[in-house]
Amino acid sequence: MSLKLKALCKSPWIFHVNTGACNNCDIELVDALTPRFDVERFGILLVGSIRHADALVVTGGVTRQAAPRLKRLYEQAPKPRLVIACGSCACSKGIFHDGYHMAGPVDQIVPVDIYIPGCPPKPEAIIDGVVKLLKKVA
């Protein structure tokens, strides 16, 4: 394992992208940072800029307008980078599968490392997903 990847697993910084989610997935994600779940204990930090991030958490089924931006964000992320598809929308477009403005799901736009299904996934599920991902790459 590269040194960089090892460092990443120690304390993954995440950047959150909403590509057309209904807000719930986003709120549950932020919820994981607040006192009840508090993932900061494990060094997981939500950062404000993609250039500082190790992992990209994508919520929402990727609308046509968001797709090129998601691609650009992915390209800007420093390597090695991980992509987490959070929520049914991100995994499969969910209930919006036949919408005319949906370009997704996420794995059609950028490669995805782990899928966390649920509408919305509970914070426990999100944490579980991240832990599984770290185990996978480590």
Binding site: H16, V17, N18, T19, G20, A21, C22, N23, N24, C25, D26, I27, E28, V30, D31, T34, P35, R36, L46, V47, G48, S49, I50, G60, G61, T63, R64, Q65, A66, P68, R69, R72, L73, Q76, G94, I95, F96, D98, G99, Y100, H101, M102, C119, P120, K122
Partner: protein, 417 residues
């Protein structure tokens, strides 16, 4: 002085959702603001026209996660108007309880985010912590922390069990001292006063001109609330007040929301007292041709749904108007002339919700070249808060906020670990 354009977004830590703002500034002053949305447009109205009447509540629930009761409620009311359904009494009370619990958690969420934007992360963490019991109750009652799937044409989908009633009552009563703590903390803190009083004032005339709704309008002194003006569910049987502010600034918006939490607690407790056992659902056979509207006071303002039926099993037209759609343009009235560091909290004070707003958008295919650069406005705003804190440090030993919160904590007997 040279004009500079500061792009915010579309992906920006300031927002949970994607939205693109351009601030035109001269030095520190904001001269103009431009909003460009469409990142969240999913074409929900069109999707709804391809679903049957009974499936649509699940789709409209996912317009916005925070208002996942208001949209389905407005929709079922519209369909009930077409089919002339008499909803059973108990179902009306259950609808009211769910809607008010949603308002509780939504306002707490806003309070937390507002605290975060002015640099008080303590408020953010605490507000979100006290939101959890509300979500727990929701999970117990409906099976999900969000997206409750309770609304149904003709009634509600699940009954509230007898054994859940005391739990709801306890949760609501436990929230009261917490609210007192927040009210005390926010109303007395000198830094919060300095950051929010007289900032981003929306005059009553402007509020009326922009058609603002919900807490945004009520903070400017307009007493509009669908729950009073056009009562639905069980609101006309309950005793509660419409909260209004006067000054229309960020402080007033915060105060209105905080006091509304108290009203919501009151409403929930009354519902629990008055609710009688009974049916929760009427059978609706078919939806005749016709058109109907449903209005609901969502946490952010009036949500409006229009449904037209041609007698088949799906609507021919479904139109949604969400509150943020009219509240977002008020930025034009409130932001201009303010400083950049205040822009953040002014934007946040409206509690904009783009996933609600964006069902209709003209998509400009050529608009691909947008700067994704981020200017960390939140950080600017937070630094401003810290600066004030320091400048006040000589005068107030420990900030009132922290003291109040600590004292409130002692009262409710919660120990920090």
């Amino acid at each position: 002085m040279k004009r500079t354009i500061i792009p915010i977004g579309p992906y920006h830590p300031l927002q949970e959702e994607a939205g693109f703002f351009q601030l035109q500034v001269e030095g520190e002053k904001v001269l103009d603001i431009d909003v460009d949305l469409g990142y969240n447009h999913r074409g929900i109205e069109k999707i709804c026209e391809a679903r049957t009447f009974d499936q649509i509540p699940f789709v409209v629930e996912r317009i916005c996660g925070i208002c996942s009761t208001s949209h389905p409620l407005a929709y079922v009311q519209a369909v009930e108007e077409i089919a002339r359904v008499q909803v059973p009494e108990r179902a009306l009370y259950i609808r009211t309880i769910i809607a008010e619990l949603e308002r509780l958690h939504s306002h707490l969420l806003w309070l937390g985010l507002a605290g975060h934007f002015i640099g008080y992360n303590t408020v953010f963490m605490w507000a979100w912590r006290y939101r959890e019991p509300v979500l727990d109750i929701m999970e117990e009652m409906t099976g999900n922390r969000q997206n409750y799937a309770m609304m149904k044409i003709g009634g509600v989908r699940r009954d509230i069990l007898e054994q859940d009633l005391p739990k709801i009552r306890k949760m609501a009563e436990d929230l009261r001292p917490v609210l007192d703590m927040f009210v005390g903390a926010v109303m007395d803190d000198p830094v919060i006063h300095a950051r929010t009083k007289g900032v981003g004032v929306l005059t009553p005339e402007d509020a009326r001109r922009y058609g603002a709704v919900g807490p945004t309008a009520r903070a400017s002194g307009l007493a509009i609330d669908v729950r009073k003006d056009d009562p639905y569910a069980a609101y006309d049987r309950l005793d509660w007040k419409v909260i209004t502010g006067e000054s229309g600034d960020v402080f007033a918006k915060a105060a209105v929301r905080l006091l509304e939490i108290a009203e919501s607690i009151k409403i929930v407790l009354q519902c629990l007292d008055q609710m009688k056992p009974g049916e929760i659902d009427t059978k609706v056979k078919e939806i005749p041709p016709g058109e109907g509207i449903g209005r609901v006071e969502a946490p952010r303002g009036e949500t409006f749904h229009y449904v037209r039926s041609d007698g088949s099993n799906r609507p021919v037209r479904h139109k949604v108007r969400a509150p943020s759609y009219v509240n977002v343009p008020t930025f034009k009235a409130t932001c201009i002339g303010q400083t950049v560091s205040d822009a953040t909290i002014i934007l946040a004070a409206v509690d904009p919700c783009y996933s609600c707003t964006e069902r209709m958008a003209v998509v400009d295919a050529g608009a691909g070249k947008r700067p994704v650069e981020q200017y960390d406005l939140v950080a600017v705003s937070q630094r401003e808060g810290q600066k004030m804190l320091r400048s006040l440090a000589g005068k107030v030993a420990q900030t009132t906020l922290e003291k109040k919160l600590a004292e409130g904590y002692r009262r409710i007997g919660w120990k920090a670990c």
